[in-house]
């Protein structure tokens, strides 16, 4: 199969060489580009902008949580008199901000941004393909993503405010504008934005799967794929299977909202009036939502695993420990991620016996996760670690993943979840395990592959500063947050001042959290500056700056159509021959044939 694909690809490479003569117009090169490298950059820059928006939101609501009722020029500057009268965030806008913050971060930054950027960049490069299977669909996937982003941002400006029922948008709250103003136009826009987002994500995913299956270069067996590709492939498969279910959940919700159906609504009396809806179940929505929602969190973390595996191995100058076990655990995680969703619903009114089944499956998922952590640790052991910023972020990722994974086991235990469900303990859990880990991996990927993306280097010194401030602030924010949750502190509360039990230590913890959050957010200025400055003024990159084995580093620094100027490279070995005994250098690229009598690891 791959041989056929190979001739095809070689053919199209030929074709490209011809085309190369005419100069591309600005529009076809930068805007409606079909080129995977450009599309990856488009995803990345869009995600960075979205991340800034979502992060500013988090600063605004952290200010409110720590200093409730105080006036902030910062808040007023962004929200104006309507949503922050006198600089005090209104409770309506508070809920809207946490909702949109969550939505943007989960979907637009950590799904679109992370797998969109790195699937596009790395899949063709690392499997030795000239481009994605379909450049056109790839382009469409970005434009759907961008349109969805724009609609989401636009929803911030509608009269009745954006969606405000939390990022999970549980009905009836999200179905009834009488229940909360955000469930009016804002919610409609949210739903349409998500449908577009999913459509784009499906196009992307199908393309990624087809490309990895069909366009691998000669010699690139599945067992010679870098772990990044394995991770991105599994991410795409999980996405294809899970995202359509979100669309069905969303479509039913749209119908309940606009056509008077009763999928999720029953026996509701609101705003002095009994509604006609009978027979629906809000729990149905939760099942549908989490059937995507849980795999979704793995859609976020699998690429993060892939990136950190690659970076840790390269920069420790050591093969990743247990390559096959790593693939096996990625597969196990992907599979298990489909049969654990109801752990978000232990106390939703679902049958407790069903709950026990999900306790079992959920705790099982900790086993492959533990294997991954042990394998990372062993990879570091007796390595020869070069602390590039990418490496620092990868190590940071492992550490936050440990913390978040362990609290996951607490939450997976339904009996314990009774106590901490919907408290800040859950917030701390998933920010550690998903938020911080994935964003760290994303940073790692950016620092590591920036030379490939832009042909220039990012500043290492600024990278150090960025890493250490971010790392310390991440702990400063999320470690105390666990204790707020254990103290019984509920999430999505506009303030805690109505409860004497939260006035003492909990308020102190909230101050600590917010201070770290503000510093941590400010530290991202360093990154943004470094990123955009280096695009234009960074040091010119060399071809293979990290002395890496994978194929992307055999392409020229200057981007060309079809990636390789000559024929496609041929692969002779796995990508992790670092510090192999008997070799002169501490790395052996995949394109170097095995020596006589040399074993392939």
């Amino acid at each position: 199969m791959s041989a056929v694909a190979n001739t095809q690809a070689a053919h199209s490479g030929h074709h490209h060489a011809d085309l190369h003569q005419h100069k591309e117009s600005f529009i076809s090169k930068f805007v409606f580009s079909h080129d995977h490298k450009m599309i990856s950059k488009q995803f990345l820059v869009t995600a960075i902008i979205m991340a800034w928006i979502a992060m500013i939101m988090s600063v605004i609501f952290r200010l409110q949580i720590a200093w409730p009722g105080e006036s902030f020029a910062f808040t007023h500057f962004f929200l104006g008199e309507k949503w922050a009268p006198g600089g005090v965030l209104s409770s309506t806008m508070y809920l809207a901000l946490v909702t949109i913050h969550g939505t943007i971060m989960v979907f637009f930054v950590l799904t679109g941004g992370l797998s969109g950027t790195f699937s596009n960049l790395l899949i063709p490069y690392q499997i030795g393909a000239r481009d994605m299977a379909s450049g056109f669909i790839n382009m469409l996937s970005y434009w759907f993503f961008l349109t969805a982003s724009i609609i989401m941002i636009f929803s911030l400006f509608v009269e009745s405010g954006p969606a405000a029922g939390g990022w999970t948008v549980y009905p009836p709250l999200s179905a009834l504008p009488q229940a909360i103003p955000g469930s009016g136009t804002g919610m409609t826009l949210w739903l349409f934005s998500m449908v577009l987002f999913v459509a784009g994500s499906l196009m992307g995913s199908l393309n990624y799967i087809v490309t990895v299956m069909n366009l691998r270069t000669k010699g690139m067996k599945m067992t010679r794929l870098p772990l990044t590709i394995w991770a991105l492939l599994l991410t795409a498969i999980v996405g294809v299977l899970a995202f359509p279910v979100l669309v069905s959940a969303v479509v039913l919700l749209i119908m309940d909202r606009m056509m008077g159906t009763s999928f999720y609504l029953s026996e509701i009396h609101i705003a002095g009036e009994a509604l006609d809806h009978m027979g629906g179940s809000p729990i149905l929505y939760q099942h549908l939502f989490w059937f995507l929602g849980h795999p979704e969190v793995y859609i976020v973390i699998l690429p993060a695993f892939g990136i950190s595996s690659e970076v840790i191995s390269t920069m420790s100058r050591k093969p990743i420990f247990g390559y096959r076990a790593m693939i096996g655990s990625l597969m196990a995680i992907s599979f298990l991620s489909f049969i654990v969703w109801a752990h978000h619903m232990f106390i939703s009114g679902m049958n407790p016996f069903l709950g026990s089944v999900f306790v079992f499956t959920t705790v099982l998922i900790a086993i492959p996760s533990a294997v991954k952590v042990f394998n990372y640790l062993t990879t570091l052991w007796r390595g020869n670690i070069i602390f590039s910023p990418g490496m620092l972020f990868s190590i940071g990722m492992v550490s936050t993943f440990i913390a978040g994974g362990l609290t996951g086991i607490i939450l997976a235990d339904s009996a314990l979840d009774i106590q901490v469900h919907d408290t800040y303990f859950v917030i701390a859990h998933f920010h550690m395990v998903m938020g911080v880990s994935a964003i760290f991996a994303m940073f790692a990927g950016i620092y590591h592959w920036f030379p490939k993306m832009y042909g220039r280097m990012m500043s290492t010194k600024l990278g150090y500063l960025h890493f250490w401030t971010t790392f310390i602030c991440a702990f400063g924010v999320f470690i105390p947050m666990h204790y707020v949750g254990l103290a019984g502190g509920p999430r999505r509360y506009y303030n805690y001042t109505e409860f004497p039990m939260f006035n003492g230590g909990v308020a102190d913890l909230n101050h600590i959290i917010s201070v770290f959050a503000i510093i941590g957010a400010a530290a991202q200025i360093i990154f943004t500056y470094n990123f955009f400055r280096s695009i234009f003024l960074g040091q010119k990159a060399v071809q293979n700056p990290w002395h890496s084995n994978t194929l992307e580093w055999t392409t020229p620094v200057e981007h060309i159509h079809g990636n390789w100027p000559g024929p496609l490279p041929t692969v002779y070995r796995w990508p992790y021959d670092y510090s192999k005994p008997g070799k002169l250098e501490d790395y052996v690229p995949q394109t170097v044939p095995l020596e006589d009598g040399e074993e392939e690891h």
Binding site: G165, L173, G280, G355, V373, H421, L486
Partner: protein, 422 residues
């Protein structure tokens, strides 16, 4: 204002950093340094930083629970709370061990094995025995965790003994209402179409149904008169709205008529045991009391959106879902008075708070819970007015102005008393 200053300072600090960076960058470029060639001293420093920060991290992790002991909840005030806390302790110990081992290994390795020139990393691509070992050990440990967890979960969620005291907790935006079963110890049937100011839970009784039907009839007539009067003046979409409204009232009326028939049938078959006869003596209140050391089952409902009954001191939580009744039972073990002594806080109150986002005042949807000795509870609960009496009192005031209403009421009472005799 101060925050603005702080922000300004932060921004300035970054501007300065960038300025300095520009300068050092230029100097480095002049010296021919390359970004990707990390100098030896930077690798060493980063390694050392890993140790320092790793240490700070573990120290912080250990210090917070000690220093902020006061934030932890007081001892669990229910039997299930005791089980849950014990299980928490067990899990914390297990996970704590793993947490320290893995983090120490991570930061230690990262700090120790920084790059040294001329050194080669140890070639160690896999070791099947090791991998098997650390798949099997976590698996065994986790099986223990699962078994213990399910054991506790099954105990907590086991169906209560028959005859367990039932109390309804009813959520709506943004407060809680409590219903006690009254003399007959049974909660009566409810229907959301009967909810109004006098009947916040929509309790079904013969009176209520008759009255509601009469109200709807009047409402319907009014709406039809309005519709006829406006037919010429209003634009068609307005008229369509009015038609919708009329249709809605019709549906409501039909629903309630059906309910009435159902009620009659049920009473005819079940006699005194019919759930439609239990409502009259129910006690609806905005105060929440529970007796100590008595198993109570909370029947949880919601009027509008999902809420969640969260009793942190009892380690108890269950969602309130519109359209269904969820249940949870618990045995409160410590009275409020004793807890005030234990926590050394004379103002202490158990609190029931809403823990599922439900709208703009979600953050203040709470009701205090008083746990008292069964005797005191009995005295307190006997004094609560029963639903039928209370709504009678409420009815009498407007009754003067509308004779018709009084008439329907009395007939309704007559029919119920009649069916009761059967």
């Amino acid at each position: 204002m101060t925050t603005l200053l702080i922000l300004a300072v932060i921004v300035l600090a970054f501007l300065v950093v960038m300025r300095l960076h520009r300068v050092s960058d230029l100097a480095a470029a002049l010296r021919g340094e390359r970004e990707e060639l990390i100098p030896e001293k930077d690798n060493r420093t980063s390694g050392r930083m890993m140790w320092v920060v790793g240490f700070i991290y573990l120290a912080l992790f250990t210090w917070i629970p000690i220093h902020f002991k006061s934030v932890f909840l007081p001892p669990p005030a229910s039997t299930q709370g005791v089980w849950i806390d014990a299980m928490f302790h067990f899990n914390w110990i297990m996970l704590g061990i793993v947490f320290y081992i893995t983090n120490i290994a991570l930061f230690y390795f990262a700090g120790k094995y920084f790059h040294r020139p001329g050194k080669k990393a140890f070639w160690y691509p896999h070791n099947n025995r090791l991998e098997l070992l650390w798949t099997v050990i976590p698996a065994v440990v986790l099986i223990v965790v699962i078994i213990y967890g399910l054991y506790v979960w099954n105990r907590i969620t086991a169906a209560p003994d028959p005859g367990t005291m039932e109390v309804e907790v009813y959520g709506k935006q943004f407060d809680w209402t409590i219903r006690y079963p009254g003399k007959d110890k049974q909660l009566g049937a409810t229907d959301f179409r009967l909810i109004d100011g006098d009947n916040p839970l929509g309790i079904v009784t013969g009176n209520v149904v008759t009255k509601r039907l009469a109200d709807l009839q009047k409402e319907l007539e009014q709406a039809e008169v309005d519709r006829a009067a406006q037919a010429e003046i209003q634009p068609t979409d307005q008229l369509a709205d009015m038609d919708d409204h009329i249709a809605h009232i019709r549906r409501m009326r039909e629903g309630i008529m059906n309910l009435g028939i159902l009620m009659k049938e049920d009473i005819a078959t079940n006699g005194g045991n019919s759930k439609y006869l239990h409502g009259a003596d129910d006690q609806v209140t905005k105060e929440f009391h529970l007796p100590q050391n008595v198993d109570v089952e909370l029947l949880i409902r919601s009027q509008d959106v999902i809420h969640s009954v969260y009793l942190p001191h009892m380690r108890a939580q269950m969602n309130a879902v519109p359209g269904m009744t969820t249940r949870m039972h618990l045995v409160p073990t410590i009275t409020t008075d004793s807890m005030r002594l234990v926590t050394n806080n004379p103002e202490f109150d158990y609190i029931l708070l809403c823990n599922k986002v439900c709208g703009i005042s979600h953050y203040n949807m709470q009701i205090p819970l008083t746990v008292e000795k069964p005797g005191a509870f009995k005295v307190w609960s006997i004094l609560l007015p029963s639903f039928e009496n209370k709504s009678k009192v409420a009815d009498e005031a407007p009754a003067d102005s509308s004779k018709a209403k009084v008439a329907t009421d009395t007939t309704a009472v007559a029919t119920t008393t009649e069916t009761k005799k059967n």
